[in-house]
């Protein structure tokens, strides 16, 4: 009986404990279900975060070709040197040993040290330099056993096979900086990424850059990389074909730089610019600026000394004069003034003015370039001989506003959509502009100056080439472009055809008539005859005293004080194909310096 109650009691206790066991098993089962089924996604992500490190793979940058497929910018295989960080790494010692073998760029080393100090992860590769020659690489490779921390990674390096010929146009790439990141929110912060800093490289950076790929590295708990493979392929940048013809470009550059004019012990190339444009499509065939630079020095990492010499150079080799060089256009805008006059009806084809060499207005004297005057001449002759007094009179009759409107219509100081960030708009002054900016009223004397393209007026070579292209085309308001243009339609020009033909005849006479200012530079081949207009721009004002004493000849003046030589033109006369603008800074007169260059380049273009 006693045994029975004992057994009963023990069974009751046993039942209690067994229930407890059952509940425990239930809780464990639920916990497993919760972790593995309900919360699986969360833990799966955590596990992958543990397992994998992702690193970016830089896409190959798109290449740039000229209109005939010749390479202007390409990528070449290169090696980057990396150091693997770990505890107790004596960086100074390793770098010291390395620099005994190779020449490490000082800036690379200081940049590397910055990166190294800011580092918070272990066991990752830190970039030292990608600026090593093949010889340096092989020297290190042979002694790699002495540098267990060092490794190479294959990279691509930007090269510009044409070097200085296309320097301003193609531009260059450079390391990504904080500023770039602030400016462009889409950029991925990747220390070794190079982005376009200048020229087409900058303008088309997004297109050329491509999209990053990702490399996936499997990492164990101690941070050691177990496997590494490409997870997402990088999308290489798109190639770019531009409208420039390398042949013409290189010819134009050498022709511009080797002007044998009034040099006094100056062994430097001429400064200036040449722009040639297709008058039917707006495609820019050549776009030259001098002096230039070798863009490849930016690829190998420009030394601060080199950079300083580029920046400090008074001739500003980094400036793309074709698009950001602003010059007074001088006589090259006389066609526009004439067109403004014809369109507004203040003058007819046969109206004549008398030029005695000077125009007096109030107590001011405005001189013609021809000391003794051109006599009694009409509009066509005034353009042909570039008579200033004629245009003083004409300018006063038409007024600055109408001149300005015509200049805008022809592309000066208008909003040109060129594919270069460096483009600087020219300036066509107006009464309102004078009041807003200078705070004083417009004076008729300023109209007189403006009508021969002096005074406040400024323009760049692209605008001037566009102006001539529009006159030559006569139908459409051609816009310049650096891309091959097959489809783009332009707006109508809306200028009376007869007026345009009259002006074009006058421009032809400038080159082809024996009284023309550029007669010496005419093209003799019958089918390729050129029309144009010269311009000689005063850089310093000539005082009346100086005039009395006799004007000092250009070549006797200090280089900085010499006139700019300009020429704009188009060819052939019938069915024009190309327009051109040549500017030689301080090159003397347009007819003697600029026009021959234009002629030679035009011949090269047409043949």
């Amino acid at each position: 009986m006693k045994n029975l109650t004992l057994n009963k009691n023990i069974h009751r206790r046993f039942f209690l404990l067994t229930t407890l066991k059952g509940i425990s098993f239930g809780i464990l089962s639920w916990r497993l279900f919760d972790l593995q089924v309900i919360e699986n996604k969360k833990y799966d992500k955590l596990s992958k975060d543990n397992q994998f490190n992702f690193s970016l793979v830089v896409p190959e940058r798109g290449e740039i070709y000229d209109r005939k497929g010749r390479v202007l910018a390409a990528n070449r295989d290169a090696f980057s040197l990396y150091i693997k960080s770990s505890k107790n790494l004596n960086v100074e010692k390793i770098l010291g040993k390395l620099s005994l073998i190779t020449n490490l760029n000082e800036e690379d080393i200081s940049n590397f040290k910055k990166r190294y100090i800011n580092l918070n992860k272990k066991n990752i590769n830190i970039f030292i330099t990608d600026n090593l020659s093949q010889r340096d690489i092989s020297k290190i490779a042979v002694r790699l056993h002495e540098f267990p921390e060092i490794n190479f990674i294959m990279t691509k390096k930007r090269v510009y096979p044409q070097g200085a010929i296309t320097s301003h146009l193609i531009g260059y790439t450079g390391k990504l900086t904080e500023k770039d990141l602030k400016r462009n929110k889409n950029l991925i912060n990747f220390s070794n990424l190079r982005i376009g800093k200048y020229g087409l490289e900058k303008f088309f950076d997004n297109k050329l850059r491509g999209e990053f790929g990702r490399r996936r590295e499997e990492v164990n708990a101690r941070g050691k990389i177990i496997t590494s493979n490409l997870y997402e392929k990088p999308n290489p940048g798109k190639n770019l074909k531009i409208s420039v013809d390398l042949n013409i470009q290189s010819y134009a550059l050498s022709r511009l730089q080797n002007v044998e004019t009034q040099k006094i012990g100056l062994n430097e190339p001429e400064t200036g610019s040449v722009v040639a444009m297709d008058v039917n499509t707006g495609e820019i065939i050549c776009c030259v600026s001098s002096p230039n630079f070798n863009p490849n020095i930016f690829t190998r990492g420009i030394k601060s000394k080199e950079w300083k010499s580029l920046i400090d150079n008074k001739k500003a080799p980094l400036l793309n004069r074709a698009v950001s060089g602003l010059y007074p256009p001088g006589s090259t805008i006389k066609m526009a003034v004439a067109l403004a006059a014809l369109e507004s009806g203040v003058i007819s084809y046969d109206n004549k003015f008398f030029c005695n060499g000077v125009k007096e207005y109030g107590d001011m004297k405005f001189h013609c370039w021809h000391k003794y005057g051109h006599g009694n001449i009409n509009l066509s002759q005034a353009i042909e001989r570039s008579c200033d007094v004629f245009f003083y009179e004409l300018g006063l009759k038409v007024g600055i506003e109408k001149i300005g409107l015509m200049l805008n219509k022809l592309g000066l100081s208008s909003n040109i959509n060129l594919e270069l960030n460096e483009l600087r708009k020219g300036l066509v002054p107006s009464k309102k502009w004078k009041l807003d900016v200078k705070g004083t009223r417009w004076t008729p004397g300023e109209t007189i100056n403006a009508s021969i393209g002096q005074g406040y007026m400024l323009s760049n070579p692209i605008e001037l080439a566009t102006m001539v292209a529009r006159i030559a085309n006569s139908e459409m308001a051609i816009e310049p472009t650096l891309l091959l243009n097959k489809t783009k339609k332009f707006g109508k020009l809306n200028i009376n055809k007869n007026h345009l033909n009259y002006i074009k005849d006058a421009m032809s006479n400038v080159v082809n008539s024996e009284f023309g200012t550029a007669y010496k530079s005419k093209i003799r081949k019958q089918n390729f005859k050129m029309a144009g207009k010269t311009g000689t721009v005063q850089v310093v004002r000539i005082t009346e005293d100086e005039r009395e004493k006799g004007i000092i000849k250009n070549k006797d003046r200090e280089w900085k004080k010499r006139d700019h030589a300009l020429f704009v033109g188009y060819a052939p006369l019938i069915k024009p194909k190309y327009s051109i603008c040549v500017i030689v800074e301080h090159g003397g007169s347009g007819s003697t310096t600029a026009a021959p260059i234009a002629r030679d380049i035009m011949e090269k273009l047409l043949v």
Partner: protein, 369 residues
């Protein structure tokens, strides 16, 4: 009682004895053991060394022990219970002075390391069974119970002091559950519980900040993400990322990339869960559950009081191992360090459980059916 005595004079043949063993139970154990070898093969990155082969040898040894113990009369085994208990106490004191290992838990026996704390678990089952059989039915007597509790607490505190909180607390829980089963009066249980609950806040108040922090970390290891928390966080990630069907045999990234600590011992269940998913982890848990059901059936079938205590003790020991281990790796209970029976590559604990199984078999074989 006399009816049993007759049995001594008519011993069963060896074949009959073998047939009387619980082969279903041993079959389930064998399956779990094979899973263990597989898991350890994976833990060794797809190699039999260093753990899988070693484990296999220990399993064979374990089954031999079961076979040998099953042939011994349970009464014979019980005769050694007191001696075994004092031997364990002696060893536990011995390791304080001559133990090896970081925490002085093992005795170096030249060919293997012996961990007396594991053997103490079996010995406490045997001793309590002996004690309650020899002095039955005094469950309401306070002194009687205090003596029983002391029998448990002496080895318990010796082990906790090593320090091995997991094994120590497991032993204490095992002992208390047997005392409870024997009929510890509810009055005592309630009053002790009440006193502890009241004194708990007072003790907490008097603790220093760092002591409080240590206790908090013990309760919730994830507070300490680099130390103990790290293991638990990684273990949970591994289990959770296994999903329904797992990452596949030999492909668990957490274990293969060494994010899992102790993947061959205490955290082997995590590895199985990661590679085999919920399907695998719940299957293993179910096998343990079946083993427990078989032992419950055995308990209910058994009529002898001593044997009842022994069967319960062994089943509760296996249960405690499973709950401690899986509870720990899934982050339900603090990290205390407990191996998973038949799967974790541990020495003495594995043998201890096989000794337990051997006792069960001995009871079955000795039974007069």
């Amino acid at each position: 009682m006399f009816s049993y005595k007759n049995k001594f004079y008519k011993p069963d043949s060896l074949l009959k004895k073998l047939l009387k063993m619980d082969w279903l139970l041993l079959f389930l154990v064998l399956i779990i053991c094979i899973i263990g070898v597989g898991a350890l093969y994976s833990a060794g990155n797809g190699s039999l060394n260093p753990w899988a082969m070693n484990h296999l040898y220990k399993i064979i040894l374990g089954f031999l022990i079961v076979l040998i113990l099953s042939q011994l009369k349970i009464k014979l085994i019980m005769n050694f219970s007191v001696a075994l208990y004092f031997f364990c106490i002696f060893c536990l004191i011995y390791v304080i002075y001559f133990g090896v290992g970081d925490v002085k838990r093992w005795i170096d026996l030249k060919y293997f390391f012996f961990q007396p704390s594991e053997l103490a678990k079996v010995s406490i089952i045997l001793l309590l069974a002996k004690f309650f059989t020899t002095y039955p039915n005094n469950s309401k007597n306070l002194l009687y119970n205090i003596f029983a509790i002391l029998l448990v607490l002496i080895p318990g505190f010796l082990i906790i002091n090593q320090p091995d909180l997991g094994t120590g607390s497991m032993l204490i829980l095992l002992g208390f559950s047997i005392i409870f089963l024997n009929g510890l009066s509810w009055n005592i249980i309630f009053s002790v519980t009440l006193i502890s609950l009241i004194s708990l806040p007072i003790i907490w108040q008097n603790l220093l900040e760092y002591q409080k922090y240590r206790i908090l970390v013990f309760i919730n290891p994830e507070l300490d993400t680099l130390g103990k928390g790290y293991q638990i966080i990684q273990s949970k990630i591994a289990i959770g990322s296994g999903g329904l069907f797992g990452k596949g045999f030999l492909t668990g990234s957490q274990s293969r990339l060494d994010f899992l600590p102790e993947k061959h011992t205490d955290f082997v269940y995590t590895l199985i869960s990661e590679e085999m998913g919920f399907v695998g982890s719940i299957s293993v848990l179910t096998l343990y559950f079946f083993i427990n059901i078989i032992l419950v059936r055995e308990f209910l079938k058994e009529e002898n009081f001593t044997n009842k205590i022994l069967i319960f003790g062994v089943s509760f020991l296996i249960f405690l191992y499973v709950i401690f281990n899986i509870g720990m790796v899934t982050g339900l209970i603090p990290v205390v360090g407990a191996p998973l029976p038949f799967i974790s590559n541990g020495g003495t604990s594995l043998i201890t459980i096989f000794i337990g199984l051997g006792i069960i078999q001995s009871i079955r074989v000795s039974r007069n059916v």
